[in-house]
């Protein structure tokens, strides 16, 4: 119950922000932060609960973005339809990837997901209709009432998607899916022997995680009014999606949220005040420090602090 009140309050605050703040840069930056919260939450379903490191975030995210862009170019479909289609396509990619990599574990799975990124990217580089290597310019559709700026609408859409994916992640964490995933993270053999359908659970986690990443990518072409392969399939999405849960804590749905809010806000700050390279360095250093010194992330530190008192 407390959780749903929290969601409602967050939604109310977001609505109030959209209604009363008139500072476009805030929404530009805020959109990116929210996007990384969603990516981190999606990543954590497979990476945190099940312990499978996924470097393939850009593949799912990019496929979602391209699905939306191509659909928009072909039929001028509304944003909601684009998002749904993107989620379906990336979910399918997750399903196929999950089936293909059923027997792979640890680093082998991670490497296979890198392969996925390059293969999907190469397909879009060579697909002329989707703009090829040079990219595709997109005109935003006319504004819908009651929004007075397009970026505000995208911000609100992203905020709603973030809240929905957090609710989904929390549901998965608490249902038998989550328990099964945790069991297979701790020991795949033991889980299998106790009757946990490990393979099915893994494919399920792959699919859900992929679909969320795809939905997250769908508004991206509209956000930039442009789409091109090199930045859409950039490894930086993988870095953000992986580093945030590692920093926040992977065991709880709150971990990736805290990690992503902290990390992306810091990144936005560093990008504006120092330089774009420094922000990647910040991620790298934080990632190494947390992985070595605080294996359970900020949440773990917090728990240790509380229990010591």
């Amino acid at each position: 119950m407390k959780f749903w009140i929290g969601i409602a309050i967050t939604l109310a605050i977001t609505l109030a922000t959209v209604a009363f703040v008139n500072f476009d840069y805030f929404f530009f930056a805020g959109y990116t932060v929210l996007m990384f919260v969603m990516l981190a939450t999606a990543w954590n379903i497979l990476g945190g609960y099940a312990g499978y490191v996924n470097f393939g975030t850009p593949a799912f995210f990019g496929l979602g973005a391209y699905t939306a862009a191509v659909l928009y170019k072909a039929t001028a479909a509304p944003l909601v339809v684009q998002i749904a289609a993107a989620a379906v396509m990336s979910g399918l990619l997750g399903l196929v990837a999950g089936l293909l990599t059923l027997r792979l574990r640890g680093i082998f799975f991670a490497i296979a997901t890198i392969a996925l990124v390059v293969i999907v990217e190469t397909v879009f580089i060579n697909w002329r209709y989707a703009g090829g290597a040079t990219g595709l310019q997109l005109l935003r559709p006319a504004l819908m009432w009651p929004f007075e700026s397009y970026i505000k609408m995208l911000f609100l859409v992203m905020a709603i998607m973030v809240l929905a994916s957090i609710a989904l992640a929390r549901y998965i964490e608490r249902s038998w899916f989550g328990r099964g995933l945790r069991a297979l993270r701790d020991s795949e053999e033991a889980a299998e022997c106790s009757g946990v359908p490990t393979l099915r659970l893994k494919v399920f986690a792959c699919t859900v995680s992929g679909a969320l990443m795809g939905a997250c990518g769908a508004p991206m072409p509209m956000y930039l009014s442009f789409i091109e392969p090199a930045s859409t399939f950039n490894l930086n999405y993988a870095i953000g999606a992986l580093a945030s849960p590692m920093i926040g804590g992977t065991a709880h749905w709150l971990g990736p949220v805290i990690g992503a809010l902290l990390l992306s806000s810091l990144q936005q700050l560093v990008t504006v005040t120092i330089s774009n390279e420094m922000n990647v360095l910040v991620v790298g250093v934080l990632l190494v420090v947390f992985v070595v010194a605080a294996p359970d992330g900020i949440l773990g530190l917090f728990k240790r602090f509380v229990s010591r008192k």
Partner: protein, 292 residues
């Protein structure tokens, strides 16, 4: 496709393949034999390439620079492994996810460090054999730089293969990969041997970096391309097999250069080759072509 074109592609592929095998040798030791998820291997290679470039500005020949660099990189590798061991392997639990994330972070730090120090521009070296080519008949011209790298790669692979199979330490490294507990019972310290092996792997990466910058210009982000290629070679080889690494490098090199020359595919499809190969091997035959 015309036959002479195919011949040329295969020839290029062999040269390229030996280069791929050489840059994967280090990973074949660190990941293949020691089971360390060393995603930062290509980043260390690029670091080696930049050091080669730096030495080149002082007048060193890139190959000599690469050989000189193996010493500090060997020490660096021992240091990295020691740190990894203390932070992850010793604590035991859950080294998988965090180990991968750790090396991923290290790769990022190296990449951005290079950008901050040298900028994002491409760097290249100068040497008498760079920029020339020789005609080997039938109108096929081979660039000297590729031939030089080919020779260095062959020499390095031969030395490493001999070292691993003939010397005492080399065999000890293979033993630690097979059964660590048994090695401990024989009175040897597996951690020290692994540290030594990781040093060798990193030294090989330094020499690989020198080859990287001989074969073409290098920029800090190049490691991202080579993550796929090197892991593809090592997995294709069957983890830790040295002769397998050479064969796998050749397979990758030849298939990539055929795609490159193929009229309807061309350069834009070439990067996908290594990864498709990798996915196929992982999906169909995870123990690799020459695996145990």
């Amino acid at each position: 496709m015309a036959l002479d074109l195919l011949l040329e592609a295969v020839l290029f592929g062999i040269l390229l393949g030996c280069f791929y095998a050489a840059v994967s040798m280090g990973l074949s030791v660190s990941f293949g034999l020691l089971d360390v998820p060393h995603v930062a291997h290509p980043a260390i290679m690029v670091l080696g390439a930049y050091c080669t470039w730096l030495l080149g500005t002082w007048g060193f020949d890139p190959i000599i620079a690469g050989v000189v660099l193996t010493v500090p990189f060997f020490l660096l590798g021992m240091l990295i492994y020691r740190f990894y061991y203390e932070a992850f392997e010793r604590r035991g639990s859950d080294a998988g996810v965090r180990g991968i994330a750790f090396f991923f972070g290290v790769a990022l730090i190296i990449e951005v460090g290079l950008i901050l120090a040298f900028g994002v521009d491409q760097r290249m070296v100068e040497a008498p054999y760079i920029g020339k080519s020789i005609n080997i008949g039938w109108d096929i011209r081979l660039p000297m730089r590729t031939l030089t790298v080919f020779a260095v790669a062959l020499a390095m692979s031969a030395v490493l293969t001999l070292y691993m199979s003939k010397t005492f330490t080399g065999r000890a490294i293979k033993a630690v990969a097979q059964d660590e507990a048994a090695l401990r019972l024989m009175g040897a310290d597996p951690v020290r041997i692994k540290q030594w092996a990781f040093g060798i792997a990193t030294a090989a990466a330094a020499l690989g970096g020198a080859m990287l910058i001989i074969i073409g210009p290098v920029d800090p982000g190049l490691d991202r391309v080579y993550i796929g290629r090197t892991f593809a070679v090592v997995v294709l080889a069957g983890l830790g097999s040295m002769t397998g690494t050479i064969a796998a490098g050749l397979v990758l090199g030849i298939s990539e250069s055929i795609v490159l020359i193929h009229p309807s595919l061309g350069a834009s499809w070439a990067p996908a080759v290594s990864f498709t190969l990798l996915l196929l091997v992982l999906g169909v035959r995870p123990q690799g072509l020459f695996g145990r």
